[in-house]
């Protein structure tokens, strides 16, 4: 839908002669409407705004002055779509300044030469038309770009989910583990952003982290079935191999890396560090405290929680309160005080999510 044909010119001046002087210049090509005072001018502008391509405005008029009309046009944002040429007998710097300040495109002094008026008017109308056309084009382009980007983001999310599901199929864990980890990560991030602004996590970053969390166990693809699917306790050797899923995951990601962007960073860190511990006794790098990136810390706690409340090949699910207690009392990994805090704050929502929306056969029903 393109704009309506702009074929109208408004001439506002209290003297008929003055209006006529301008009217005859344009009335063959344009439809002319006239106003005798500021109030009539304002009414006309409001009524014909989508057809007006130019406005001639006298400064001194009864009821409302030319400046008042300009003010109105500014308030209602007509000033950017309808060019205004002031006509005046006054030639003071002060009124000139004011008129331009209020958005007039040009000022013409009486008496004027009709040809000059016509040329200037045409130039100004052309300029406005061109600018409006460009703005519309720009708006359209911006919208298209945004739509493309959203499409790409959705593809990415789909791919990440698909990739991570591959692991799940192999390890015969609940098909929804990934979804739950993502959901819990999202929940945790909500509280982190609220309670700990010091981590400076933005909404955009949070979205990326949630997606990245889906890949935390991608390294398990490289672990042999004999270990991955063993129902009993792992030997020391077997456990050492299992621990390497963190590092294998990173190797895999590096192969797929396209560029060193933020999302890649999150995927890598989460993959590598989601088994580190706050006291430095984790693996693979024995990082301590704040050296562990916050996004890895979050996935760490969330992963443990989900493991506790789900059925696994090697265990039955725990009750949600029991799982919470074990985490808070340091029985299942060591977490930073901030993580413990967040966990406490998020507890109720976590329980509700576990028992409600994502409840499956292998999560213990109370």
């Amino acid at each position: 839908m393109e704009t309506m044909e702009k074929d109208m010119i408004l001439i506002a001046d209290d003297a008929e002669i003055n209006r006529e002087m301008i009217k005859f210049i344009f009335d063959e090509q344009y439809h002319i409407i006239e106003a005798e005072d500021g109030v009539q001018a304002i009414t006309a502008i409001a009524e014909y705004s989508d057809r007006l391509c130019l406005l001639f405005l006298d400064l001194l008029m009864p009821k409302k002055s030319g400046l008042d009309v300009l003010q109105f046009m500014n308030d209602e944002d007509y000033i950017n779509t309808i060019p205004v040429i002031m006509i005046t007998g006054e030639a003071t710097d002060e009124t000139d300044e004011k008129a331009y300040e209020y958005g007039a495109s040009d000022i013409i002094y009486k008496p004027f030469a009709p040809n000059v008026v016509m040329r200037r008017a045409k130039n100004i109308m052309e300029l406005f038309e061109h600018r409006i056309y460009l703005e519309q084009k720009l708006e359209k382009r911006t919208r298209q770009l945004r739509e493309s980007r959203e499409k790409i983001e959705r593809s990415n999310e789909f791919l990440v989910n698909a990739l991570s599901s591959v692991v799940e199929f192999r390890s015969l864990e609940s098909g929804e583990h990934i979804q739950r980890v993502k959901y819990f990560t999202k929940l945790f991030l909500k509280y982190i952003m609220k309670i700990y602004p010091k981590y400076e996590i933005t909404k955009e970053q949070a979205a990326l982290i949630v997606n990245a969390s889906a890949l935390h166990d991608i390294g398990k693809i490289a672990i042999p079935d004999s270990i991955l699917l063993k129902p009993g306790k792992l030997t020391e050797e077997e456990f050492e191999e299992m621990k390497k899923h963190t590092v294998y995951g990173c190797e895999l990601l590096e192969k797929f890396k396209q560029e060193d962007n933020e999302f890649y960073r999150y995927c890598y860190d989460i993959c590598r560090y989601h088994h580190e511990r706050h006291d430095g006794n984790g693996y693979p790098d024995r990082l301590e405290g704040d050296a562990i990136p916050i996004w890895a810390q979050i996935v760490s706690v969330v992963d443990v929680y989900d493991a506790l409340v789900s059925k696994r090949v090697y265990k039955d699910p725990f009750a949600v309160e029991e799982a919470a207690r074990m985490i808070l009392e340091g029985e299942c990994g060591v977490f930073s005080p901030e993580m413990i805090d967040c966990f406490t704050m998020a507890e109720q929502e976590l329980f509700a999510a576990t028992e409600g929306e994502f409840s499956f056969a292998d999560v213990m029903v109370k």
Binding site: I17, N18, L60, P62, K110, P111
Partner: protein, 116 residues
């Protein structure tokens, strides 16, 4: 009466108006409009009421019209009274009004003959 004669009689600039309006028909049309304009009346009313603002605006409008119509003599007196009123001086304005009135009447009478 021709347009040229009219302009000579009222102290106006025929060449200027011709270059602006191009045709004598147009000049006649505009002259007719000039007689219908109420600014002179408003000026007189304003001065009599002591309403400087109204008078100023009327004088200013009239001045503008005279410029457009190339009525040079009437323009000069209108211009002068406009400046007087801008300075808020009602008394001086009353005096100037006599001059304006004289010039105005000459123009009106002239138009009457022109359009007869």
């Amino acid at each position: 009466m021709t347009v040229q004669e009219f302009y000579d009689e009222v102290g106006g600039d025929y060449n200027e108006i011709m270059s602006r309006l191009r045709t004598e028909d147009r000049i006649r049309k505009f002259a007719g409009m000039f007689t219908r304009d109420e600014s002179y009346k408003a000026l007189v009313q304003g001065i009599n009421d002591g309403n400087v603002e109204e008078a100023f605006r009327a004088a200013h409008t009239m001045k503008g019209m005279c410029q457009n119509m190339a009525f040079t003599r009437l323009y000069k007196s209108s211009h002068e009274i406009t400046e007087i009123l801008r300075g808020n001086d009602i008394d001086s304005a009353k005096q100037m009004l006599d001059v304006v009135t004289e010039d105005y009447n000459i123009v009106i009478a002239g138009i009457g003959k022109l359009l007869a």
